[in-house]
Structure formats: C-alpha cells, structure tokens
C-alpha cells in the first residue's frame, strides 16, 4: 500500500472518530441517605428523556453526593478533571450548588440546574455558563404570597426553618403578599416537634398559615397540625407537598394549597407523554423534581441538535433559545438565564388511593425572578 493511500485511510479514520465525538454529561445528585428521594426522582426524570431520545453519542455519568458539600466538590473535580465532562447538572440542594457551581462555571463548564437556584446565582453571581431550568428559589414562595393576597387574607402566620433557603422563602412570600402578618417564626433546621409553634398559631389570631418545611419537617408539621384542632387554610410551596411526601402524610394534607410551576395535570402533549411514560417505566407518579430532570434533559438534547459544547458561544445560544417541548408548556429564559414561566396554585386531592395535586389557579403569570436586574448579563 502506498504512503498516499495510507495517509488517506488514516485521515478517514480520524474523521470518523471525531464524528463519533461523545458529549459527556455529569450528573451529581443525592442518591443515598434521608434526602435521596429528590435525587432519585431527578435522575429518573432525566434518564427517561435521555433513553427516549436514544442518542448514543451522549454519555451520562451519575454520581451520589450524599448531601455533603465536600463530596459534591470532589465529584465535580473528578468529573471535570478525570472524566472530562462538558456539562454538569443534577444538584438538589442550594448549599451544595453554591459549593460546586461557581468553580465549575469558572472552569468553562456548563451547569444546568435541575432544582436548586439560589438568589446569589440569579443576581450578582449570574454567569453565562449557568442556566436554571427549574425556577429561581423564591418563585414558588412568591406564588403563595400572591395567592394569599388575591384570596384576601389579611393576617397570615408564616414559618420556615432558620437557614438561607428558609429566610429566602419568607422573603419571597412577603414580597408578593405585602400585608400585615400575624406572626413570623423561624424554626430549627431538622426540628420535628411543632407543638409550640401550633400553640403560637392558635394564640395569634391568624386567618391563614404559610409554611416552608421541606422533607420530614413538613410531614411532621402537617400531621401535628391536622390533629391540633386549629382549622385555618394552609399554603406553602410545592416542596412541602411533593408526590413522595403526600403519601407519607395522607389525609392531613388534604385541601392544602401549594405554589408550583408544574403539576401532573398541566394540559399539554409533552406533559401527558411524560407522566404516562414515567408511570409506565417506574411504577409511580412523577414529582416536580422528576419533571425538572426531564425538562433539563430535553433542553440539553435540543441544544445538542444545533451545536456542540466545545463551541461555547453557539451552544449557549442554543440553550438560551430553549427550543424544546417543555412539560410546562411555554418556556423561555430571562437575561439571567432563569426561566420565565407561569406559577400556579395546586390543591392536594385524592385520586382513588393516591394523594396528588391538581391546579386550581394561576398565581403569577410570566414570572421571572426578583434578582434579574442585579445580573450584569442584561
């Protein structure tokens, strides 16, 4: 074989190899310990979309952060340095996100948030490589505040745990409610007994209650509240009322109103396909975390159809265009790369044997985020 043929053959092989260039996505999420249900749902929703698309040039690497910030940082380092991923995603908790995202974006990697979207990263800390596909942390609380106002409540009692997400939630509520409060209480992070707070509520003369108590805290509060004889309308963000928590709370959660940007009964084709596909594959109903995972995967796939992550400018533009079928219907990004979307109010109902949510009102239309003006990407 002559040198020329050899060279030609070699270059053909090289071209073929580069055409098969893999895109690697690194998913860091919580798969063990107490908060695992959120990470598991995120992963399952994400992979449902990935597997439906069936692209063999996209590889997803999934790792468990155990809800520890230093492990998340380690994993991010490993994915960036060792596995050479182009895109990171999946973190559930704001404190882990704050540990990982600034460093990852500073190294030129794209980060798409499937859940946590703290205020710092939506305002002054915004970054061209950082997109939030879910919401901005305050949004769902703002919806509850808007609902309280529109329902004519004049004396709500508001409550959240004493940590940054809790402080953000009460601020978000107050921002859209804008009226007088019967009481504002910060509970201890991880607190399980709310008898004292319920006694305060009873004594305060409130006409409604807003609370943000994620995970086991919310389950405890709802059970104790339902048994307390206090019968005030209750509102909160969807985090306290997701599909997993509802089954554990049962009857005590009935009738509660919660703010959410997604519900399984949202009326569009993409959502119907998502819910039925998820139920068929995993034998349970999806939660909003699964919906965000699914949407993030589809957004990524839509961008990959147009550009490669190695061409950062083009890929970023493709992401910003958000040309995909979101399960939330209309979807677009604001200048700080957080969504503009409708936030609804859902009510907890029972369908057969299962507790779930249904939309009863639209609380805020085309909501962006309170920090968009602080972002210098305008």
């Amino acid at each position: 074989m002559s040198m020329k043929t050899l060279l030609a053959a070699a270059s053909l092989v090289a071209m073929a190899a580069s055409a098969q260039a893999e895109v690697k996505i690194g998913m860091i999420t919580t798969l063990s310990g107490g908060g695992a249900s959120l990470g598991i749902d995120t992963r399952d929703g994400f992979m449902l979309a990935m597997e439906a698309a069936g692209r063999d040039d996209v590889e997803v690497i999934i790792e468990d952060d155990q809800r520890k910030p230093d492990v998340a940082v380690q994993l991010a380092d490993k994915m960036i340095q060792s596995e050479k991923v182009d895109i990171l995603t999946g973190i559930v908790w704001s404190n882990l996100a704050m540990a990982v995202v600034p460093a990852a974006t500073a190294q030129g990697k794209f980060y798409l948030s499937t859940n946590a979207a703290p205020a710092q990263l939506a305002g002054r800390g915004c970054n061209p490589n950082y997109f939030s596909v879910s919401y901005q942390n305050d949004n769902l609380h703002e919806a509850a505040g808007a609902y309280a106002k529109s329902e004519g409540y004049t004396n709500p009692f508001i409550m959240a745990p004493n940590y940054p997400a809790g402080q953000d939630s009460l601020n978000g509520f107050k921002r859209f409610y804008g009226g007088e409060l019967a009481g504002e209480v910060y509970t201890k992070l991880g607190q399980t007994d709310y008898a004292a707070e319920i006694a305060q509520i009873r004594a305060s003369g409130a006409d409604s209650i807003f609370f943000f108590l994620p995970g086991g805290m919310g389950i405890s509060f709802l059970k104790q509240y339902a048994d307390s004889g206090v019968d005030l309308p209750v509102m909160g963000p969807a985090f306290s009322f997701d599909q997993a928590i509802l089954q554990a709370v049962g009857e005590a959660a009935m009738g509660v109103k919660n703010g959410s940007n997604w519900s399984k009964d949202l009326d569009n084709a993409a959502n119907a396909a998502f819910v039925s596909g998820f139920e068929e594959k995993y034998d349970r109903l999806p939660s909003l975390y699964a919906a965000y995972g699914y949407d993030t995967a589809n957004l990524l796939l839509s961008a990959l159809d147009v550009a490669e992550p190695s061409d950062a400018e083009a890929f970023r533009a493709a992401l910003k265009a958000a040309e995909f079928d979101s399960v939330r219907g209309e979807f677009s990004f604001d200048t700080n790369q957080h969504p503009i979307q409708d936030i609804y109010i859902r009510e907890v109902i029972k369908e057969g044997e299962v507790y779930t949510n249904k939309i009863v009102a639209t609380a805020i239309e085309d909501r962006s985020s309170a920090y968009v003006d602080e972002c210098s990407m305008n």
Binding site: G34, S37, Y186, A196, Q200, R202, A203, G229, A248
Partner: protein, 306 residues
C-alpha cells in the same frame, strides 16, 4: 404572651421531654449496666418506627403496629448484642463509639435498601385523634396526652423493675460491680442480652409512638440520639430518675427556648431579625444547658460521684 399560652408551651415542653425519656431510659440502662456507649440506639428507634409503619400499613391496626415495633426493635437489639456488642464490653469507649457508628451506617442504608428512599406512612389511631379542652382553657391533642401517659407508665414500670424484681436487683448489682455478680453465679451474658433488648424495645416503642406524629424515614434516629445522649449526661449515667429529670429539663429548655428567645430579641430589633436571631440561639440552648450542668456537676445531676 398570655398565661394560657405559656402554660400550654410548658405542657408541650414536658411532653417532648417524656418522649425523650423513652429513648434516654434505654440508653442509660445499657450504659449503666454494661458500660457501653451505644450510638446505634437511634437506629433501633428507626427500626421500631419502620416496623410499626409496615404492620400498620398491612393490617390497619395501630395496636398491632406497636407490638411489632417492640418485637422488631427487641429482636434487632438482641441480634446486634449477640453478634457485635458482645465483643465490645472489654474494649475502651473509643472502640465502642466507632463500632456502633459503623452499625449506624449498616442499619440506615440497610433499611433504605429494604424499604426504599421515600418516607413511609404511619398515622395515629382514630380513637386517639382530635383534641380535648383541659382546665384553664388549653386545647390539647388527645394523642399527646396519651404519649405523656405512656411515658409515665414506662417510668413507673422501670422503677418497679429496678426496685422490686429480681432482675432489677441483678441490674443494680451489675451497675455496681460486674465481676462480683458473675462470681455469685448470675449468667452475665444472658443478663446483658436481656438488658440490651429491653433498652432496644424502649427505643423502638418511642420510634413507633413518635413516628405517628412525625415522619418515618431513614435517618430519623440520629437527631434523637444526640438529644438522648444530652439527656443522660445531664441526668447522670445509669440513673433512671436522672434520665427522667434530664429529659424533662431538655424538653422544657428546647421548647421554651424556641418560644421565648425570639420574644426576648423583639425588644431589641424588628420581628424578622428577632425571629432569626432568637431561633439561632434557641438551637444552641440545650447544649449550653448541658455544658452548664457538667461544669457545675461533672457527673451529671444524679450520676455516681467519683
């Protein structure tokens, strides 16, 4: 704050203390008799709650669920004692801490493997739901009153066991001088297994009772474990009376601290900041209490004086 509200908060503090007592009693019994620090006590609490949730879900009966919780926790306790704890009596506290820490990992993830990552449903029986109006106008949930009753019953039962039965004599003797009772012919290993199982059963009972008004999920035992240790240290290790008084003190401090400290700060700043700052200090309150008690009485309130 009105006197009625304050009275209700005091009642809440006492009730949370009584629940802590169930956990602490088992822990102090095990430490007092066997000299063993058992970090896995919180996992036994969790096992009781999960057993109760599983049985209540299958049969619909809360009574059966409680029995299941006692049985499952006692069985788990006996098994752990036979396989692991037995080898730790002669070791120093350090090895005990690490071995039982390892047990926490195994039991927690093992439970998650068996039951999944999602929280389980467990609710109180219909007969105990609802509220009752106490003298003075306090509206109080029936279930919480039932919990107080159970706690007092357990305290009385333990006192009777300790003071009036042969087993109690052996337990008290064992706390005092292990070698002697072995020399006197008491089967130490059976005694230890029994005591461990009783302690475990108490933890499991607490888990089931409390799980009905809180959430049943993996990791629910660890926060309670720390609190239980705080209680037995304040009360004095090995003393059931100390565990009860310590538990009530911790319950009251925790509840009243959370309620009164924000009020205190409201005198200085606006409500939102007062709420946040007050809550910050309230979360430290019981640790400040424990440090204070230990500085004043280095072996706890009713612990053996060295």
């Amino acid at each position: 704050m009105s006197p009625i509200l304050l009275a209700e908060q005091v009642l809440n503090g006492l009730q949370s203390g009584v629940m802590l007592f169930l956990m602490a009693a088992g822990l102090t019994l095990i430490f007092g008799v066997m000299g063993l620090i058992n970090l896995a006590h919180g996992s036994l609490y969790m096992i009781g709650a999960f057993a109760a949730a599983a049985v209540a879900g299958a049969t619909g009966s809360f009574a059966l669920a409680l029995v299941a919780a006692l049985a499952a926790a006692a069985a788990a306790g006996a098994l752990i004692e036979l396989l692991v704890i037995r080898r730790l009596y002669a070791r120093d506290h350090l090895d005990q801490v690490l071995a039982t820490f390892a047990l926490i990992l195994i039991l927690s993830e093992g439970t998650r493997w068996l039951f999944g990552s999602f929280p389980l449903y467990l609710n109180m029986p219909a007969g105990l739901s609802g509220t009752v109006t106490l003298p003075g106008g306090i509206v109080y949930p029936v279930y919480r009153l039932a919990l107080i009753a159970v706690g007092i019953a357990v305290a009385l039962g333990l006192w009777w066991l300790n003071a009036r039965t042969r087993l109690g004599i052996r337990i008290r003797a064992g706390e005092n001088d292990r070698e002697m009772i072995a020399a006197l012919g008491v089967d130490i290993s059976k005694l230890y297994t029994l005591v461990f199982a009783i302690g475990a059963a108490l933890a499991g009972l607490a888990g089931a009772l409390v799980g009905a008004i809180q959430s049943v999920q993996v990791g629910m035992g660890e926060p309670v474990l720390i609190l239980a240790f705080v209680v037995i240290v304040i009360g004095g290790i090995g003393s059931i009376k100390g565990a009860l008084i310590g538990a009530l003190l911790v319950g009251l401090t925790d509840t009243l601290g959370g309620v009164l400290l924000p009020e205190l700060f409201k005198l200085f700043t606006d409500p939102a900041t007062a709420a946040a700052t007050g809550s910050a200090f309230a979360s430290m309150a019981i640790y400040v209490l424990m440090a204070g008690v230990l500085i004043w009485r280095p072996t706890g309130l009713f612990g053996a004086r060295t």
